[in-house]
Structures are given as structure tokens and as C-alpha cells.
């Protein structure tokens, strides 16, 4: 297209779209190589390949954002429309559509920290699924004799647990399944250790935990995989993570939450003293009731000293003898009847048995043949070949013969 007006033509520079876009790209990208933007997420979407697209908006404007998979994988919390965020990254110009966008390198929720938000989100999700339901919580055994511990073999937690159990409940057998309690792979190791104890089965209760640390240090106990392993454990689980003030997802899921590893050990050991005194109590109750019983019987005995039978024992014995006579007479009568019935039944059964006996059949002229040498009963022509030897059983003896011919009805 030609621009004809006013002879200014030579002074105008005409860009191609690409040229202009390239200049804008250089300008924008050099001006905003690193920016932080605050806004609300809208139009959130995630592609199959894992890249995340959304817009950040405030009341007046909208900024397109892209959050590539390689960068967004480390994100602990999940994004959704309406979430207020602080996004850090650089401005890119995407030439094919002529749009500028924020290429996000870091993303944090506004207000609470990223981990805090992730915690709240997972807590809400699992609560809805019912993982924290009191109805699902298993009671602890009254006196666990075998305690499984899932923690670091070198941490403060195992040391505290051992100290307390050894002092207060030396009869408890402690089995440690050592795991990493922080860093990459810790959550998986903890979950696996809980599963292993459930396969091993030979423990009465599990203590799962670690000593104190920052929210990041305790993070493994806020991972979904640990929560699910605790929830699925058939062995009751006591969670023991950090200090009194630290609440983790593991604590919500466990059958019992101990504020610290030491407290978990106390919960297990607690009952020894109680039990010793309870046993003493039981013993004294038993003894006093048996003593009472004997005292009462003694009293009754004194009362009977004046009774008739004790004054005239002979009379009592005579009456008893008479009763014994009467009973034994009745017994004899009854016994005779039983014997008669049994004899009748015996005769009947032997008759029946005789009728069924193969010997009886032989006496009527039938015979039975056995193939030699294995003495197998011959019932089928196919079992016998010419010149086989057979033994034939008659009523009063046996014959041995050699087969010289086979005749079947079709021949």
C-alpha cells in the first residue's frame, strides 16, 4: 500500500509485523527480566503436558501467565481460580499470537506461606474423605508388649523413646524400622516402613514420628502418602511429631496423637505402675471374698451342729441305704431293657450284612476272577489278553487258568 500524503513518505519506517513484534519483545523482555506481581488467579487451566495457564487480575487489569511444568512440579499447594498470589518471573512476548505474558518462576500464595496453604488444602481434602473420622480410630492395647517405632535411627526421637521405655517399661520389646524423616523421599520411606510393620505383624502398636524442627523439616509428616499409610495400618498408630505446638496431617490421621516422641513413649509405658497396683487390688479383693466365704460357711457349720441329722446320724444313714436299694432296683430293670433292645438290633444288622456279603453270592454259583499277578478284579473284556493268567474264586476255593480265547457278544 502506498502512502501518498504530504511527502512524508521517506521519513516513515515501515515495519513488518515480525520486525515490530521482535522490537517489542526485546523492549519488554529487557525491561522486565524479573518482576513480582500480585493478583488473583482466574481462567486457570492445566494442559495434558503439565503446563499451567491462567491470568492474574486485579479490579482493572488482567495479565496472562504461563507456569511451565518443569517449574511448577515443585509446587506443594494446588492452584485454583480466586486464589490471591504473588508471582515472580519474567515477561515474555509470544510472537505467534502477539501477546505478552508472565513466565512464572516462583509462585506463593498471599498471606499464608506456600506450605501452610498446602497443609490446609490437604487437611481439608482428607477430612472430606473421612481419614480423620474418630470412628475409624483404633483403641490402643491396654499393655503393648511389642512396640514398633518408625523414625530416624540417629534422631532425638528414638533416643527419647528408648530412655523412657527402658526406665518405665523394661518389659516392652522395641523394634525400630529406621527411616529418613526429612528431605526428598522421606515421606515414601515412612509410609513404606508403616506398611512393612503391617506385613510383619508382630507388634502391638506403632510410634511414628521425629523430634522438633521447622515446618519444612516436619514436612514429610504432612504428605498424603504418610497419612494414607497411617490410615490403612491395621496396627494402631501413635503419631509423635516435633513439639507440643506442631500439628501435622499425620497427627490428625493417627489413632492417637502424642505431643512429642517422649510423650508417645509415656503413653505406651504409662500403665505399668497402674497395672501393678491394679493387680494388687485384684488380689486383695479375691482374697477377702474367699475369706468371707469361708467365714460364712463356718458360721453355717456351727448352726448345723444342732441339726437333726447331726444328732441322730445313724437314722440318717439308714434312710440313705434304703434309698440306694430302691435306686439300684430301678437301675437293674432299666438296664435289662436296654440290653434287650441292643441284642435285637445286633441280630437285625448281622442278617443284613450277610445278605450283602460277596461270599454269599459265590455260594449261589457266581464266581469272581482276578487278573494275575496283580490280583485286579476283572470287570471288562479289554483288561484281559489271550494267554493272560487269571485266578477265579469260587465258594470253596480258587482256580488258576490261562485265557485261550475271548468271546464278546459281537463275535
Amino acid at each position: 500500500m502506498r502512502i501518498e500524503n504530504k511527502g512524508l513518505k521517506e521519513e516513515k519506517r515501515i515495519y513488518s509485523v515480525s520486525e515490530l513484534t521482535d522490537d517489542i519483545k526485546v523492549l519488554l523482555e529487557n525491561t522486565f527480566p524479573e518482576v513480582w506481581v500480585e493478583g488473583e488467579i482466574s481462567n486457570f487451566s492445566q494442559s495434558q503436558s503439565g503446563h499451567i495457564y491462567f491470568s492474574l487480575k486485579d479490579p482493572k487489569s488482567t495479565l496472562r501467565c504461563v507456569f511451565f511444568r518443569g517449574v511448577n512440579q515443585g509446587l506443594k499447594f494446588s492452584l485454583k481460580d480466586g486464589l490471591q498470589c504473588l508471582a515472580g518471573g519474567r515477561i515474555n512476548v509470544y510472537a505467534p499470537s502477539g501477546q505478552y505474558q508472565l513466565n512464572i518462576q516462583r509462585l506463593e500464595p498471599k498471606g499464608a506461606g506456600a506450605l501452610q496453604l498446602a497443609f490446609e488444602q490437604l487437611k481439608e481434602k482428607l477430612a472430606q474423605e473421612g481419614l480423620f473420622e474418630p470412628a475409624h480410630k483404633k483403641p490402643l492395647p491396654l499393655l503393648p508388649l511389642r512396640v514398633g517405632v518408625v523414625t530416624s535411627p540417629t534422631g532425638a526421637a528414638i533416643r527419647d523413646i528408648l530412655n523412657i521405655l527402658k526406665r518405665r517399661a523394661p518389659f516392652v520389646k522395641i523394634i525400630l524400622n529406621p527411616v529418613k524423616v526429612q528431605g526428598i523421599g522421606a515421606a515414601e520411606e515412612i509410609a513404606q516402613a508403616i506398611k512393612e510393620f503391617n506385613q510383619y505383624k508382630e507388634v502391638d502398636v506403632l510410634i511414628v514420628g521425629r523430634g522438633g524442627g521447622s515446618l519444612e523439616d516436619l514436612w514429610a509428616f504432612n504428605e498424603e502418602i504418610v497419612a494414607r499409610a497411617i490410615y490403612n495400618s491395621r496396627i494402631p498408630v501413635i503419631s509423635a511429631v516435633g513439639h507440643e505446638i506442631d500439628w501435622t496431617i499425620a497427627d490428625f490421621t493417627a489413632d492417637l496423637r502424642a505431643p512429642t516422641p517422649s510423650a508417645a513413649a509415656e503413653l505406651v509405658a504409662r500403665q505399668k505402675d497402674d497395672l501393678v497396683s491394679e493387680l494388687g487390688h485384684v488380689f486383695s479383693r479375691m482374697s477377702s471374698s474367699i475369706n468371707n466365704k469361708i467365714k460364712t460357711l463356718h458360721k453355717e457349720l456351727f448352726r448345723f451342729q444342732d441339726a437333726y441329722v447331726l444328732k441322730y446320724p445313724l437314722n440318717f444313714i439308714q434312710l440313705s441305704l434304703q434309698r440306694i436299694d430302691e435306686l439300684s432296683h430301678r437301675l437293674n430293670q432299666k438296664a435289662g431293657h436296654i440290653l434287650e433292645t441292643a441284642q435285637h438290633r445286633w441280630t437285625h444288622l448281622t442278617g443284613k450284612l450277610e445278605a450283602l456279603s460277596p461270599l454269599n453270592v459265590l455260594s449261589r454259583g457266581y464266581s469272581i476272577s482276578f487278573k494275575l499277578p496283580e490280583m485286579k478284579v476283572v470287570t471288562d473284556m479289554a483288561e484281559i489278553n489271550i494267554s493272560d493268567k487269571i485266578q477265579t474264586r469260587l465258594k470253596n476255593g480258587s482256580l488258576v487258568s490261562q485265557v485261550i480265547n475271548k468271546i464278546t457278544p459281537s463275535d
Binding site: K173, I175, E196, R285, S289, I290
Partner: protein
């Protein structure tokens, strides 16, 4: 006794005590119950007084589990 759960033993004891306290049973039976109670009390006490057990580590070897001794001295140094 170790096979019998401590809890079961306590339950039995509870029953024995309430039977005895009811006074419903004849002397001979009461004495039998008392004897069993004494036996249970003593085996429960025995469990509670058991000497200290070694700490062990659960290890998986070729799909089966085995227990190894846990080196506590290493722990004390830390």
C-alpha cells in the same frame, strides 16, 4: 503366658473377682477360681517384671523379615 494377651488375663481376673464377690459359687468352685486368679496375677506380675529387652531393627531380606540388634552406643554419642 506371653501368648496369652495381658489384656485377656485381666479380663479373666475381673470375671473371677466378680464371681467370687457374688458369693454364688460353692466353696470348692470358689477355691478353684481363687487359685486360677492367683496364678493369673502372678503371671501378669511376671510380665511386668521381665528384664529389659534388647532393642531390635526390622530388616527386610529377600522378601522376608528379620530382626537385627540395634547399636545403641552409636546413638549415645550423638
Amino acid at each position: 503366658m506371653s501368648e496369652i494377651k495381658f489384656e485377656e488375663a485381666l479380663k479373666k481376673l475381673e470375671k473371677i473377682v466378680s464371681d467370687l464377690e457374688s458369693g454364688k459359687f460353692p466353696l470348692e468352685e470358689s477355691l478353684k477360681k481363687y487359685e486360677e486368679g492367683v496364678r493369673l496375677v502372678s503371671s501378669c506380675s511376671k510380665i511386668l517384671e521381665t528384664a529389659q529387652k534388647k532393642v531390635e531393627v526390622l530388616a527386610k531380606k529377600e522378601g522376608a523379615f528379620e530382626l537385627k540388634a540395634f547399636d545403641e552406643e552409636e546413638l549415645e554419642e550423638k
